[in-house]
Symmetry: C2
Subunit: 195 residues, 2 copies
């Protein structure tokens, strides 16, 4: 196998989300793929956004934000939120907006899963700010749960690849995490796994 170095313009495949903030008391949403859980306890979530986004203003105003996971049926609206700025376009009327305990983090009723966060810090870099929020609640509907847990097949989210700029759905369930490797562990241990 010959490896080729394809440079530094590299983006791991990412979940597509809509980040919600209030700016001057109006809800605004931006499309965002650069998010990750950051800390186990307390539960922290990070979202990296270009410093010049209108969203930055809202983050600093209210110190709250939301991360909403749209389903693939919402691809057009989601993509639209990535095409236009809240400075020029009112995106608050695209969705039914609701608020949770934080009261200033707008969430999207049509999204199968919405997470509300309280800002706990901002890590500034050259072009982007990593906003760090503590997860204060997560809102969904019974129809998106299996065994009381979010079910990705029911949520039906989008993934994004760059720089080819394609949206993808989730595929098949192929195994269980923290289980799929147990046989290999037993093999290497020379023993059988005892549950």
């Amino acid at each position: 196998m010959e490896k080729v170095n394809i440079g530094t313009n590299i983006y791991p495949p990412m979940l597509v989300t809509l980040l919600g903030v209030n700016v001057e008391k109006r809800a605004n949403f931006m499309a965002l793929g650069w998010i990750s859980r950051l800390n186990a306890n307390p539960p922290l979530l990070g979202a990296s956004i270009n410093k010049f986004h209108y969203t930055s203003q809202g983050i600093r105003e209210n110190k709250t934000f939301s991360i909403n996971i749209p389903s693939k049926d919402m691809m057009k609206e989601t993509d639209y939120c990535g095409l236009v700025s809240g400075r020029e376009y009112d995106k608050s009327c695209l969705f039914k907006v609701f608020y949770g305990e934080l009261e200033t983090a707008p969430m999207i009723e049509e999204c199968p899963l919405s997470i509300e966060c309280k800002l706990v810090g901002i890590h500034e870099m050259s072009t982007n700010d990593l906003i760090i929020g503590e997860i204060m609640g997560a809102y969904t509907e019974h129809q998106y749960l299996s065994d009381d847990k979010p079910d990705i097949r029911k949520i039906d989210p989008l993934f994004l690849t760059m720089p080819d700029n394609n949206y993808w759905t989730v595929g098949e369930n192929v195994g269980k995490a923290w289980k799929a490797g147990r046989d290999l562990k037993s093999e290497r241990d020379g023993s059988e796994y005892i549950e």
Copy 2:
């Protein structure tokens, strides 16, 4: 639609990766879903790891690390890397290891895509450290590219959902980012989109 608050134990679906470091000159790999691009220019990538992972030692030793994207065919080995610690198990012999320009960031030959990073900072939190790396190169093979760009269908990565702990493949291509919302923009602008 009635929303229910399912609490704070929430994990957005994530890409499955293997983080590589050298610890005392031996390659070690941990399974990791908490990664994200963080900055556009320079290209920064973040990975959040529990402070007590063996990996932390290697990060501080060499100030380099790699993010490798395994294909679904590597699910067992990948899951195994999340089951055992490099403190007790030698994981260097699980894969064919190669090095790039940084010389100390071990990468996995079997992985369709490997990214090598130079550590530029660590953002410490209570249970986790966010290690921030500048992408110095990305290694793949021609068989995983289409139009000189990584092709997710060829890479065939895994996604992880928690707390149900399931691995998933990628599904169908359903649209183009920064295009799928153009009709909606035209509609709202009352004009046609001109490319």
